[in-house]
């Protein structure tokens, strides 16, 4: 049985932990708000770009472009987006597990491009070929980070160093739901024909479809990577907020339990003392 002093010490430390988790929860909530705003702000651009791609492909056969070049996949690269820090619930574990499964299932030699320390530490320690690790500022990824990653994988693909590029990230649905996923980004596959050819417009192209496509595809690639980074940031903060909320609640419960125990212990020691006094008095009488 723990002594009263020990229990009180445990209450104190539980309170300290609760204070920390509460602070982390508030910080994560504020960052989550910012991150979801950024996801929403970035959405119009990617939607419109996607629409433009569709109207281009409806306008006729898409001309060949190096970024769309399909070839047998012998070597591939995975861009793994994780957080720099832990204490975000199962966020990092989930995405790392998903990426690990993908690496095991996919044949061919793999290289990894990591964004965020957690993923690069995990896979570098296990002997995977991490060709580049990028770290993003804690305030969240900037567009420049996405540009750097995009240029890197584009060069790898165009030079033939890899035959396909995938992005592993956590898609953000809400603060309590994020789904890790792996999507293929290179070679770029044109948007599927949705069968609504009726409303397709005859566009005039200035200068011509080939050059427009040439300018469009790199930006399309960038947008996918950028969107993935933003979603990952939002997921990270969402996951951390949820984890820290339950940690704070758990600490509260623990404090309550320990307080009860401490009170009981205090009561027991008082009772014991009284019994001793009474017992002593009885003994003197006798």
């Amino acid at each position: 049985m723990a002594s009263l002093k020990q229990i009180r010490q445990r209450i104190r430390s539980a309170k300290n932990i609760q204070q920390i988790t509460k602070a982390m929860k508030l910080v994560a909530a504020a960052r989550l708000k910012k991150a979801t705003d950024r996801v929403l702000e970035a959405r119009p651009y990617s939607e419109r770009l996607y629409g433009l791609m569709s109207s281009l492909s409806r306008a006729g056969e898409l001309p060949a472009h190096p970024l769309m070049y399909q070839r047998p996949i012998h070597k591939y690269a995975v861009v793994l987006i994780t957080a720099d820090r832990g204490l975000a619930g199962s966020y990092n574990t989930n995405i790392i597990r998903k990426a690990g499964d993908f690496l095991k299932q996919t044949e061919g030699s793999s290289s990894l491009v990591t964004v965020g320390k957690k993923g690069s530490q995990f896979f570098a320690r296990r002997g995977y070929n991490v060709v580049h690790s990028h770290s993003v500022p804690t305030a969240g990824a900037r567009l420049d980070d996405a540009i750097a990653i995009t240029n890197l994988v584009r060069d790898m693909f165009v030079s033939g160093e890899v035959d396909a590029v995938y992005v592993a990230y956590s898609k953000f649905y809400s603060a309590i739901r994020q789904a890790p996923q792996v999507v293929q980004v290179l070679p770029i596959t044109p948007p599927a024909e949705d069968g609504v050819a009726a409303d397709s417009v005859e566009y005039k192209f200035e200068p011509d479809p080939v050059s427009i496509l040439g300018a469009l595809l790199p930006r399309y690639l960038l947008t996918i990577v950028w969107q993935a980074m933003l979603e990952a940031t939002a997921s990270e903060h969402g996951s951390r907020m949820t984890a820290m909320t339950s940690a704070t609640d758990n600490a509260g419960e623990m404090i309550q339990e320990l307080t009860l125990k401490a009170n009981r212990e205090r009561q027991a020691s008082i009772t014991k003392e009284i019994l001793e006094v009474v017992g002593g008095a009885e003994a003197l009488k006798g």
């Binding site: 702000e41 651009y45 419109r48 770009l49 567009l143 005039k204 200035e206 300018a215």
Partner: protein
């Protein structure tokens, strides 16, 4: 008079979304104008100044860092690599950026590659131009 919708979106934000009377955009082979009921067009844009006339006949300027323009059904979408509305430009900040880019181009500073510096120079220049064009009214 017929008007049409203009939206200018950059990867990280939406800059303009309003009804306009006409626009002048920096096309790859020179500036071109678009009025309502133009035929559907897709065009690539250079870095430059986008000018549009709003419903109050005010001329507005947006500094664009290249991109695309799509026009159909009286809706224009400009997908810009970067975009800044003239009223949001901080001229002092851009002048500093301009000077830094110039210094980098002269080889006095190695903080950026010459391609980056060139890009930065253009960006800052058009932002300042946009702000000045806005101030002239």
């Amino acid at each position: 008079m017929a008007t049409f919708r203009l939206s200018v979106v950059a990867p990280d934000q939406s800059v303009v979304d309003e009804e306009v009377r006409s626009i002048v955009a920096p096309g790859d082979s020179g500036y071109f104008g678009i009025w309502a009921n133009h035929i559907p067009i897709v065009a690539t844009l250079r870095a430059g100044l986008l000018e549009y006339e709003d419903l109050d006949r005010q001329r507005n300027y947006v500094a664009l860092g290249g991109g695309f323009l799509e026009f159909s059904n009286n809706k224009t979408t400009i997908l810009a690599d970067s975009a800044a509305h003239a009223r949001d430009v901080d001229v002092e900040k851009e002048r500093v950026a301009l000077e830094q880019a110039r210094a980098a181009l002269r080889g006095e500073s190695s903080s950026m590659t010459s391609a980056e510096a060139q890009q930065e120079l253009e960006r800052a220049m058009f932002r300042i131009k946009a702000a000045q064009a806005n101030g002239r009214q």
